[in-house]
């Protein structure tokens, strides 16, 4: 079971070239706003299997990693019971 989940992300492109992810659109259409981006760094995700720029995000009070891998965004899915 792959733990890599590609997601739709709505991005705010600033005029200085920086980008800021605003909210994630889950595949059932529900939007999850990103309350805060806490850290941006290059990183690999061993769990999901991928590498790119990692945004440490605060979503509904919990911390989640959002990865930009080349031109697609993915999150690490939680282990399924």
């Amino acid at each position: 079971m792959s733990l890599k989940e590609y997601v739709d992300v709505v991005i705010y492109h600033r005029k200085d070239g920086q980008i800021k992810p605003l909210y994630i659109v889950w595949h059932n259409g529900v939007e999850y706003p990103i309350d805060k981006v806490m850290q941006i760094t290059r990183a690999a995700s061993l769990r999901a299997g991928g590498t790119g720029i990692r945004y440490t995000c605060l979503i509904q009070g919990s911390q989640r990693y959002l990865f930009l891998e080349e031109d697609r965004w993915f999150i690490e899915k939680k282990e399924e019971k």
């Binding site: 290059r42 690999a44 061993l46 769990r47 999901a48 299997g49 991928g50 590498t51």
Partner: protein
């Protein structure tokens, strides 16, 4: 000033990239290898579990399967490997501008200028290793030494994800007991000859009389002796100073063994057309044509010849290559793979010395013809226009070396 040189080797590079992307591969033996049906069947890389089962790089897929029946074979994904190689290179570039690549997964870095800011060379090497693991998700082993050859020995010394420091003080303990074939440019044949001289370790070689080595192996004997004694002192080339293109070549493992010159001719023309098209694309012409030959026991050789005048025409390159094949292949054993390479490149725009023995007008016509063919192929695909000869055996001619990405082994002596 004593230099500090790193040699960074990405461990099991292709297999590591596959394991990162496919978590399900991490606990089973896997190997990245060519296409089984098309017989491009060798192991390019394997993960640690496959290594434990005895799978080695370069062996045929079926041999590996015998040793390790549950081996999972993965098709190579070169564009992904190039991306990872680039990501790692970006990290190196933060530390030095002297970065010289040796293949896709190995580099030398001259860190002499920056190493003083760290507690020790090892601390810097460990920092780079950690960053590669965290940021890219694969592991590297780094050899630290005062020259390139010993740095490379260091990165091979302990794997994976390790740092080995070789100094003038500890070189006798670390380097000298290693088998002599670990040195660059000591291949299968040289190893046998070295053993005949009683040279089994690098230490044996270092202590040997260099005059005898020179007599036995020519200038290479001297190079190898210099390597063994840690006297090699070539600089790490600056990024971007590496010669851009020194040769353009294509090689292929044929879908079936080549049994006679007609078979060779078909494959040779496919390769030559690709080489010529790539030369024209880059605006280059070649003065030398080289061929590589490998029989079904994987024994091989390389032969080359000069052209009468610089060329980017597939006909001229193929004819030269065929001359070389004719002179050097006796078909005692059928051939498994052949390659055609154009070397001694010059820029296409420079004025040409015309030869009075060549029909220049005919050459111009041929060039126009080949450019037209390039155009047709670009628009309608490689198979859209072909030589009649290619239809004699569509199995042999049915590949497109220009598109199928090939990564060539590199030579140590550059520039």
């Amino acid at each position: 000033m004593e230099r500090t040189i790193f040699h960074c080797d990405l461990n099991n590079f292709y297999a590591s990239v596959e394991c990162l992307h496919h978590p399900e591969y991490r606990n089973i033996p896997i190997a990245v290898g060519g296409d089984v049906e098309k017989r491009h069947g060798i192991i390019l890389a394997k993960n640690m579990l496959a290594k434990k089962a005895g799978v080695t790089t370069g062996e045929a897929l079926w041999q590996a399967k015998l040793k390790c029946p549950d081996l999972t074979l993965v098709k190579p994904n070169f564009s992904q490997y190039l991306r990872f190689s680039g990501l790692v290179r970006k990290i190196y570039a933060e530390y030095s501008d002297r970065i010289e690549s040796f293949g896709i997964d190995e580099v030398w870095i001259d860190v002499t200028e920056i190493v003083g800011r760290y507690a020790s060379p090892r601390a810097l090497a460990d920092e780079i290793r950690n960053r590669i693991r965290e940021e890219v998700g694969i592991t590297a082993s780094i050899g630290v030494s005062f020259n390139k050859v010993f740095a490379k020995l260091g990165s091979d010394y302990k794997k994976p994800d390790a740092t080995t420091v070789i100094t003038r003080e500890n070189m006798k303990e670390i380097v000298f007991p290693l088998p002599v074939e670990d040195l660059l440019y000591v291949g299968r044949k040289t190893t046998v000859k070295m053993h005949q001289l009683g040279i089994y370790t690098i230490g044996d070689c270092a202590r040997y009389d260099v005059a005898i080595l020179r007599r036995k192996f020519g200038k290479w004997g001297e190079y190898i002796w210099t390597f063994a004694n840690g006297l090699e002192n070539s600089p790490v080339l600056k990024e971007g100073r590496e010669p851009m293109v020194k040769s353009v070549g294509n090689s292929t493992t044929a879908p079936r063994d080549l049994k006679n010159l007609d078979d060779v001719r078909i494959v040779c023309y496919v390769l030559s057309e690709s080489v010529a098209a790539r030369l024209r694309e880059a605006g280059l012409r070649c003065m030398t044509v080289a061929v590589s030959i490998r029989d079904n026991d994987l024994e091989g050789c390389v032969r080359q010849m000069k052209l009468p005048c610089p060329s980017d025409l597939s006909d001229e390159i193929a004819k030269a290559a065929m001359t070389l094949f004719q002179a050097n292949v006796d078909f005692q054993k059928p051939l498994r793979s052949i390659g055609v390479k154009a070397a001694d490149l010059c820029v296409g725009e420079v004025p040409l010395q015309l030869s009075i023995f060549e029909d220049q007008e005919k050459r111009e016509e041929n060039l126009a013809l080949e450019k037209t063919i390039d155009g047709i192929r670009r628009r309608f695909g490689a198979q859209s226009i072909q030589r009649l000869r290619m239809l004699e055996d569509t199995l042999l001619s049915g590949f497109n070396p220009k598109q199928e990405h090939v990564i060539f082994p590199e030579s140590y002596f550059k520039g």
